[in-house]
């Protein structure tokens, strides 16, 4: 039986600012993305009656974005935070709102500006930390657990120790995605890399090199969600929202013993696919949250593309890259294109779903997108397609 939300809503507009070392305020970037998305959708600003707002590490946005945008007729407005799962979540709440008449056109916007002129790239994520504070919390930095890199690196190491996953295999993910980035003029890092260059990249926390870690980017992306009916009359080819779900959990070390190698994505993906009335085998491309190479590997396993522990072998031989059997992160992903948290996979899925990806256009019948927050704590899945539910 068809789920009432399967294909009930669609993405009708996409706005993307310039990305990278763009020294503008988060609110200016966010505003520009919204205006770009309105133009892209071919609607007037007065038709925008919903606004969902999410921001990144610098927390440069809040509810007041609607003031900067001069929106007086909003029927839906909220600021949300689910870390890397937020973008997928915004699409979900927007889809439910437009399908049920709460709003007609909902703008979902993410903006962040962690790159500061004169500061090193990772400063906002790792630096400027208070080393004092509560004595037990201060131990974390003292032991060397700063930012997200150590925890993900150790998760990858556990996978390697338990399953024999190799550094070459993690490197294959970085190499494949860089090859995609070469086909994406929006990508920050477009020069191809070899496996040998991957291994020569400086260490951060072993087993992670710099090239295992995502970029840091300033910029903003806005996606407009409307009803399927309205999207059909839109300026752009509609990209239908076919299925979605979330999965969240915490880890105290007592209740989730395999938390480094099993995320909540498994539950999220199977429920999203059930809503889409589709099986995993029907997925023609993946847009997966890739804060680290390992995040791609663990998500492919959690989603069921291969058995748990076999992700290393699965990503070999260019399977994820251009010409591979499972095109994944076709814009270069967060590793090589731009790091707009969960909007990186969503934006590329919209471009692919419209058939506007040029040289990197891949089979777009059914696209699965993931969003990940925390240390595999917060997860969202969205299934998109140029075809509505049959």
């Amino acid at each position: 039986m068809n789920h009432p939300m399967n294909g009930a809503a669609a993405v009708s507009g996409l706005g993307m600012t310039e990305m990278g070392r763009v020294y503008r305020s988060t609110i200016d970037l966010a505003s520009e993305a919204v205006y770009l998305a309105i133009d892209d959708a071919g609607i007037d600003k007065s038709e925008l009656d919903g606004l969902l707002i999410n921001t990144g590490i610098t927390r440069g946005l809040d509810l007041h974005l609607h003031v900067a945008l001069g929106l007086q007729e909003l029927n839906l407005l909220t600021f949300m935070q689910g870390y890397g799962s937020s973008a997928g979540q915004m699409i979900q709440y927007a889809a439910m709102a437009v399908a049920n008449g709460l709003a007609k056109n909902v703008a979902c916007v993410f903006a962040d500006a962690p790159l500061v002129d004169g500061q090193r790239t990772g400063a906002s994520y790792s630096g400027g930390r208070r080393f004092g504070g509560d004595a037990l919390s201060s131990l974390h930095g003292l032991y060397g657990f700063t930012g997200a890199i150590p925890m993900f690196a150790m998760a990858a190491q556990r996978h390697m120790d338990l399953f024999g996953t190799t550094r070459d295999q993690l490197g294959q993910i970085a190499v494949s995605q860089r090859a995609w980035a070469g086909l994406n003029e929006r990508a920050t890092k477009r020069e191809p890399i070899t496996l040998s260059e991957y291994h020569d990249s400086p260490w951060v926390v072993e087993p992670f090199h710099v090239l295992d870690c995502c970029l840091v980017s300033n910029g903003a992306i806005c996606v407009i969600v409307t009803s399927a009916e309205q999207a059909r009359d839109g300026q752009q080819p509609p990209v239908y929202i076919r299925g979605f779900a979330q999965g969240h959990r915490h880890d105290t070390g007592q209740t989730v013993p395999d938390s480094a190698i099993r995320g909540p994505g498994s539950r999220s993906a199977s429920r999203a696919l059930a809503m889409a009335d589709a099986s995993l085998g029907e997925i023609t491309q993946c847009q997966l949250y890739d804060c680290y190479t390992y995040t791609v590997l663990v998500t492919l396993e959690d989603y069921g593309f291969c058995e748990k522990g076999e992700g290393g072998a699965f990503v070999e031989n260019g399977r994820l890259g251009p010409g591979g059997a499972l095109p994944t992160n076709t814009g270069g992903g967060e590793l090589s294109s731009y790091y707009m948290w969960g909007m990186t996979p969503i934006s590329e899925a919209v471009i692919q779903g419209r058939g506007q990806a040029g040289e990197r256009q891949s089979s777009n019948d059914l696209i699965i997108c993931s969003g990940n927050g925390g240390m595999l704590n917060y997860h969202s899945t969205v299934v998109l397609s140029p075809e509505t539910a049959s």
Binding site: S126, G127, R129, F131, G132, D134, A135, L136, S137, S138, L139, H140, G141, L142, Y143, G144, F145, T146, G147, P150, A153, M154, A155, Q157, R158, D161, L162, P202, W203, V204, V205, E206, P207, F208, D251, T252, G253, Q254, P257, A260
Partner: protein
């Protein structure tokens, strides 16, 4: 003031967290435990994360555990790390059922493997305070 002279990062225990550091200075690992359901917890909480009880007390732990995972820190993000790299990062599942983020010492990085048995050890900070770390089990 250079970074090395800046000691603002030294732990400053409050009355809530002092038992952890007092225990370390006595050569013990002390964690919170629920008197009602027996669940151990770290870091500090007022209530048991499992049953919600407020009967939560500090108790000496065995100081033994197994290595859940590890990584090798190659960049200094903290004043303490200057001239000490690489540092072995470790997550240790202590036998009481808590996963601690800590350092592993007295072992070559290549010899570190998930699942190895470890025991608590202690390290001095510049102000004389002591913090627990872990090392391979000696028996």
């Amino acid at each position: 003031m250079s970074k090395s002279e800046d000691e603002s990062w030294l732990p400053k225990p409050s009355s809530r967290t002092a038992p952890f550091f007092e225990a370390a200075s006595e050569g013990k690992l002390r964690l919170q435990c629920c008197d009602d359901c027996g669940t151990w917890t770290f870091p500090y909480r007022e209530r048991c994360q499992h049953c919600g009880s407020r009967s939560i007390v500090w108790r000496d732990a065995s100081g033994r555990g197994t290595l859940y995972s590890h990584g090798l820190l190659q960049r200094a993000y903290h004043p303490r790390h200057e001239d000490r790299l690489p540092i072995i990062l470790a997550q240790v599942d202590v036998t009481e059922g808590v996963r601690l983020s800590t350092n592993l010492v007295d072992v070559e990085p290549d010899a570190v493997k998930v699942g190895m048995e470890v025991e608590v050890a202690f390290e001095s900070l510049p102000d004389g305070s002591i913090i627990p770390v872990f090392r391979p089990a000696t028996d």
